[in-house]
Point group: D2
């Protein structure tokens, strides 16, 4: 068993505590939150965990192997840096940091001290995304041509970050994990429909990414949609895949349809015929991603190998977020990466 | 009965001939196509129609009241101009013309000769879109904040026009008819995955429009999607609407969910709860849009009033297409309208 | 070309006239209906067809090769008998006759005169049902264990026949064509919610069939359902198939899930996991079943081979309808066949 | 706080322990299971609960207020009887008992000792079913004409009970709670596809119920379906309701469509038009039914009022199960209740 401390006990922190607590690999020694109420609500459910409103004791405790940071984005860098400098393996909520510069510094520190720096891109540990990765690695789709994601739902207005920083990390991390191409330019359009502290905070955004091999990605993120959509279309040269996370079964569908360049007449046959090839929907295992991820983090530490969402992954995501945010401010002008 | 001639007997021309032919208001006197084969296939099905490979006879025939032009886009202007100058009421396939300059000239000629210039934005005559217009006119949705359309499917690669000119006219005409706001800037990103005659022809594009009142529109058009999606989300200040044209029933859903700015804790309640208000799906009549449109065009001529998709509508659409196309070439830089 | 006459110009008769008329294999010489109005509506659309209110001229015309009977069920026997006795190949709407006795007599006459007796079970000529047949013939599903069909929608109250005779022929003909087992007993429950001419006419019914090999079928037919459902589940020993005719794509889904008899603990794993194997949805061609069926009827005549839905098929269907009807009257007591 | 003991720690027992444990109204004093392994797995997660393999200590402990019985059906009667005779309020898993005779005896004992006898028909405590009850109580649907439920999925083969006793209690309890009519006859058909201890155990069944006012119910239960369906259609004289529990949103849809008896011509209009009126889908709260039910049981005890699923409810359900089972054995002959 390794000893872990969890800093930040909000909505997601709660899930983290539950998963680490019920894991047989981890012993949760501390939970920490500035908000005494939050803290008490959680600690009442779990015995033998020490509650703290100040994290310093965690960094000073030599028996702590790993620290989990689930605080607002702006505080990730400071806390993660302290954690790494205290020689703790460090798990940081997505996105890793508020800038790529910060992300790079954290990566450097972790590397120099041979510590695991893990970013909690939970989606990567879902059975569906791992199955997609497997299909792509087996070259089922052929060359990837485009990735088009829609991630919209009602309500999650935030005060500190806009919809890009809130929702797009999911899509970008999936993109990085399954396809992993090098982005060369990013543009973003979008709109803020409210202000917080006199600052516009975009609640709808459309991000467009070009990769070095000519393939593209598009990400539609929206806090104001009446329906919840979690859909990613991946177009490959031989087959195409649709990942619909709102489906209870058949989350992944692979369409045996390439795009053939036919004469006009043929084209209209295709028009009339809804799809041209068979569809296949692989069975997907059923487990909680976060629980899997806790084990993966443990393995990574004891075996001294990087996790599937390491600092570099975090940097990849943050770089694109940063560029998208900048392009948004400029009204959509593409930003080179 | 009015006499009509139909120029262009391809896929859509066929539908036009069938609808005008079975209408009791219209007499189809001529059909015309350069392609003798196309022509013969159609004329064998309908008796008493004269087939022509050259349209000149149509323009010279004083008994012809109206001309329908269903040829490729690049030829719209020339044919429509001739038709109007021959004092024929003129129905032009969407988009009206290849440039806003051309569109303006056609509008001028029609106005000066008091002729009906009608653009075939068929969607506007569907029961679903007319119901949406009715809901918006009755202020069911409140102030319109955003319009987000996805129109993707497999296969329709064209040689003369890209995906913007092919698919986006539908969305822009719906936008114009139901919401009708003044666009001030347009940007578009996207990608060509093939060349024709050494020219790149974009097969995927994402268009972003800002209106003068701060509301926005986003249009995702794609010829390379394994699934056919025809979905428009309209976000209003009081309610939100989803139009899913692939549904056989319940094409329109109105969600009684505004976006309220709550404290963080409340927000997470919303997160867990999928939607916060009732949903209502109005019954929609069942008729063929094109048949309705033929009657509408007839009425417009005999009563001397504009159709719901007149030259100005056509110009609105072409202006946005033109700007989107230009922005696409510039890599997404916004174009002022 | 063969000469055909069509008797009965109601809703379905209209479709028949259109399909025979546009076929290059058939010449529609007569259409016939007692109702002069119905007749005029159709004949105005098609030139060169003689309209009749009395069918006698058809039977007397030696140039007529085939007669299509699309009248109410109670008149099928008399008209089909006359047609066969006049040496015409005969196409009868489903169900073939009002009793199995009648059906048998028609089969006898056709056989003795070497005429084609065809029953219009149109579903059998749909691309989807033909694909299902192909899958079953290739033993994809293994031994068939059960067939469960739901065919419900709003409104189609009839005066002359109940919901069993109206809707169940579709399911029974699909059952016969794809699986083709010998039924040994039939029971039916159900309810009439209105009377016509003081006679109860069941508008909801549930039919249960046992076959000689121990497999079963269940058919749920209902004229009073707010939603239209057209779903058939076929359980085989190795795979299972779902045919959902309301889907625009993926009408057929084959589930790689047999039922394994595991220990209790494993069973609950299955419970939590929604389905245990991959799913596969074959591409299906796109054509109008009735047009295909017209060609098939023609081929059958010129090659002198039975159609896929011959008199025996018609008798199979009628026998089960008859037994179901009888069981319904007896409150659900099983009737041996 | 009241003291509770839970007997039976299988799949559902686990959920019961979790819900009672986290409730602030209940103190879980004992858990009991014959299977030491099961017991240890649970007790390791919760502190301060005494584990027992024999329930006698529970009945002897005067501080125990309530006993929860989550054992196999055949043992319900004996354990519940002991519990009631020990003056404990008693919660029994569905179905209440293995026969209506047993159910009646338990009701008698509870009544004579003024104890709460509660049956765990959890569905009754789901937000969706409570909303349906509210709609029906407000006479939104008019007179109820029919109830048609499909509850099918893969795998849950049981050794002690057949599919009727396993799945149909859900539908019958919903029927009882929302509509509550008096059944007069029950018939059931179905099939066993395997034997256990040489005994056939039906894995597919179709139950048909007639009520004293002429309305009907049909329940389709199946352990061998590749897809999970949880759908109930309720036909009322003024509106119709569809409850689809597999939907994540819009579980309940109310269709503004009665069945009107129109002339034949009108009927075919209905045919073409998929549904005739608006549809409305009420928002439904989001909470765990079992947690709500624990509170409800507590309230019932302290306020001395019956729960919504009391012994009489349990008896209603068992009576129908019993009749269905008998009819199944007789091949579908209706059984009077």
């Amino acid at each position: 068993m390794l000893n872990v401390a969890i800093i930040g006990c909000g909505y997601w922190g709660n899930h983290l505590v539950r998963n680490f607590y019920t894991s047989t690999l981890w012993n949760v020694k501390y939970i920490c939150d500035k908000d005494k109420n939050q803290l008490d609500k959680i600690s009442s459910k779990y015995s033998n965990i020490t509650s703290l409103t100040n994290p310093e004791q965690i960094f000073d405790d030599a028996t702590i192997d790993a620290v989990v940071i689930a605080t607002p984005v702006f505080s990730h860098f400071e806390l993660a840096k302290k954690s790494l400098l205290s020689n703790k393996h460090t798990w940081v909520e997505k996105p890793l940091a508020a800038s790529s510069e910060e992300a790079k510094e954290l990566i450097e520190i972790a590397k120099s001290r041979n510590l695991i720096l893990h970013v909690d891109h939970t989606y990567i540990y879902t059975p569906a995304v791992r199955k997609i990765k497997e299909l792509i690695d087996n070259n089922v789709l052929g060359d990837m041509l485009y990735f088009d994601s829609t991630r919209v739902n009602l309500g999650l207005f935030q005060h500190d970050i806009n919809v890009i920083w809130d929702l797009a990390p999911h899509d970008i991390s999936i993109l990085q994990y399954t396809i992993g191409k090098k982005p060369i330019s990013v543009s973003a359009t979008g709109k803020s429909f409210y202000k917080y502290n006199n600052k516009d905070i975009a609640s709808i955004s459309f991000i467009y990414i070009e990769f070095d091999d000519g393939s593209i990605a598009h990400i539609n993120v929206n806090w104001m949609s009446p329906v919840k959509i979690r859909q990613i279309i991946m177009g490959g040269s031989s087959k195409m895949l649709v990942f619909d996370d709102m489906e209870t079964v058949s989350k992944i569908k692979v369409y045996d349809s390439g795009v053939d360049f036919k004469k006009r007449e043929d084209i209209y046959d295709v028009l009339i015929q809804y799809r041209t090839g068979d569809m296949y929907s692989p069975a997907i295992k059923n487990y909680e991603a976060l629980s899997f991820e806790c084990n993966h983090f443990y393995d990574s530490i004891v075996k001294d190998i990087e996790t599937d969402t390491n600092g570099e992954t975090g940097l990849y995501v943050v770089s694109i977020l940063e560029a998208a945010d900048k392009s948004l401010t400029l009204g959509g002008t593409p930003i080179q990466i």
